[in-house]
Symmetry: C4
Subunit: 238 residues, 4 copies
Amino acid sequence: MVANRILGNEGVVDAFGHISIRRPENPERYFLACSRSPGLVKEDDIVEFDLDSNRLDGTNRAIYAERFIHGCVYKARPDVMSVCHSHAHAVVPFTVTNTPIEPIWVMASGSGAGVPNWDIRDEFPNEGTMLVVNDATGRSLAKTLGAGRVCLLRGHGAVIATSELKATVMASIGLMCNAAMLIQAHTLSQGRGDAAVKHLSPAEIESTNKILLGPLGLDRAWEYWRVRAGFPARDESR
Amino acid sequence: MVANRILGNEGVVDAFGHISIRRPENPERYFLACSRSPGLVKEDDIVEFDLDSNRLDGTNRAIYAERFIHGCVYKARPDVMSVCHSHAHAVVPFTVTNTPIEPIWVMASGSGAGVPNWDIRDEFPNEGTMLVVNDATGRSLAKTLGAGRVCLLRGHGAVIATSELKATVMASIGLMCNAAMLIQAHTLSQGRGDAAVKHLSPAEIESTNKILLGPLGLDRAWEYWRVRAGFPARDESR
Amino acid sequence: MVANRILGNEGVVDAFGHISIRRPENPERYFLACSRSPGLVKEDDIVEFDLDSNRLDGTNRAIYAERFIHGCVYKARPDVMSVCHSHAHAVVPFTVTNTPIEPIWVMASGSGAGVPNWDIRDEFPNEGTMLVVNDATGRSLAKTLGAGRVCLLRGHGAVIATSELKATVMASIGLMCNAAMLIQAHTLSQGRGDAAVKHLSPAEIESTNKILLGPLGLDRAWEYWRVRAGFPARDESR
Amino acid sequence: MVANRILGNEGVVDAFGHISIRRPENPERYFLACSRSPGLVKEDDIVEFDLDSNRLDGTNRAIYAERFIHGCVYKARPDVMSVCHSHAHAVVPFTVTNTPIEPIWVMASGSGAGVPNWDIRDEFPNEGTMLVVNDATGRSLAKTLGAGRVCLLRGHGAVIATSELKATVMASIGLMCNAAMLIQAHTLSQGRGDAAVKHLSPAEIESTNKILLGPLGLDRAWEYWRVRAGFPARDESR
């Protein structure tokens, strides 16, 4: 619940977008909010799903049409414990151009290098659909994500998947901040040749992630986001 | 009233700009606020007009000089039930350049493809006027809008017209967000050729609008905007 | 006092920048705040000066070093009743490049066309000064302002001078918003040739200003800015 | 403590970044917060360190891994009394491109001309590290800073070091604002040749700093930042 509100407050999601966790004691289940903007989610809005994204709450309140993003990633990636579907505005320009969204900022190393861009048109050219509302499109997206932590969705947003809720939030916010900085770096480098933008090297990404996605990095950042989203600093609820 | 405050809060309008609805039980009438910034409008600021934009409230408080935008669109388009005159800052750069404001983001499909840009100079070159303060300029604008949902106004803003208040708000906010993203996409694609920016296809626009402008999309977004504008989440007043 | 707080709230000024009015009943005097950020100014921070910018308050509290901007404009321009020294961040890029800050947006017509850019180096090349802290630099600036409403200061900000406090605020905010939009318009027009950015014509500027800088425009906008700055909507204090 | 909160509020730091002061009565000691986002720091979060960045507080609460930035600058620069490690987002694009971050704005003269950009890869190419978590990397950084006030860190942020806490805050905020403006100036000057962006001259920087980094400039700005960060205006606590 806290994670939902943090993402809403930082601008990773707006009216749309969502975040889920796999059920710790049962890897065949995941938790996701019902159909509300994440910034408004309350404790009792959380719904349990199986990995085919069937609801298990026995109610009929509205649920996210795009929950298949979560179910399909959990099916394809046993190591993933938390999935975010980001609508961060700064990320979208990279999904509709051929400019790679490589990490240039140390705090954004969570996304890793070589982030793929899934275009729903490639496998589903005749349907005109843009939304991941069934298992077939969800499987296609999970395949493009592969073994990575981040995959862009053309004209739409991104998926972020890691082994821990806080790391998923860190990578989602890092991706968004990095996107905004990278757009500005390209403004500066124009007329000077593309090579002028220095990306983090694979070794730098790996080395930084050991600290950033470890307890020292995650705890400091989590406290910061909690307070900004209106929660008390020290409590550990999520 | 809620719609006025939402538009003010999201930045679609500033001190200027406005939103109206056609009177449901009498298509020859529409409701629009008196001359106040939409973000400040209160219940009893709403005034009734006929389609020639004559006031029917029997008072003499100040009213919008540009109310003719609304009257003329309602006259030309029986299917339209709600009209927004947007002053969103991110939209204006597209009105003064030749760059089309095509939707690149799934949440912005409400504007449709091929958005026209009305330049008041084209039909009224000798008057120097920029404001739509009479029936002649309003008719000209409505003609350029044609059968679409969105028309830009050169050096000024945009008009958004749909069959429902919530859809007009959705399309107005989508247009603004898409504009900001598209400016950034052009920054990224410079030096790589214009073709690098991928627009939504007509089939994608149509397919997405079925969900986005249907109850699932509109209700989730409406709740989100209501709360951001300071209203309680669940109430259905507009 | 309200005007100070409005400018602080809208971002026209930050820790620095200021706004003054000429004393209505004595054109040889003007009122300006003591040395505080305009957003923090209170009623009893206002100090009276003569047109040589000598203080008349008999205290020794700190006052603005750059008050000579105001005194020199009032001396050179009997028609001017209110002067703003803007630090709006969006304006500064135009002061250090050769791109003219022509109005493209109808709400920004207050600045007029052909805004000059005063470079203190031109007349004072050997002093290294950037601040207008004496009569000589103030006179030079007023000369460049000429008969217009707006003059940029290279590497610094702008001066806005009109016949009325509210009109000075309107022109200051319009200049800032127009600057932000014009930067984006240039992003869009790059690779398409400069001619693609359409400025308001002189006739459009003149025609719009009749409404915008008249009571209908100023009162609606003033109420909007007042409320945003935390004042009640209807009171007429300034 | 106030300085921490100001930097958090203005966006110079986010979850990461920090500011320290040298102990006035013992130049072999400095004060720095424990491992929390600066915007959340409270009075009793401040920890004392020696110049080798060993903690002297006898507790085991988490401390900043990058405290060596501070210790190494204090060792190398006896004149420095306060050090800020900035994470300002607007600065990062300059650290990954070859565009110099020269001051163009009078309020940003605190950084001086010729700001160097330290790339940790240059001296430590095989470790993949990006963080300054030991004396060796800290010494390398301090060497690149040299006798100046500001040094960029590639892909990371900046270090700002001056003879006074308030001046360090002023230079940190000025650096950030100047970065944002300079990106926009480059947008405007593209297609017109780089020479079109006018930097402050060395004489202008020196002349302005006499006022800006003196009591008149620092006190006015400090009051402004204090109030924005939620503190009362007049108190002198830091």
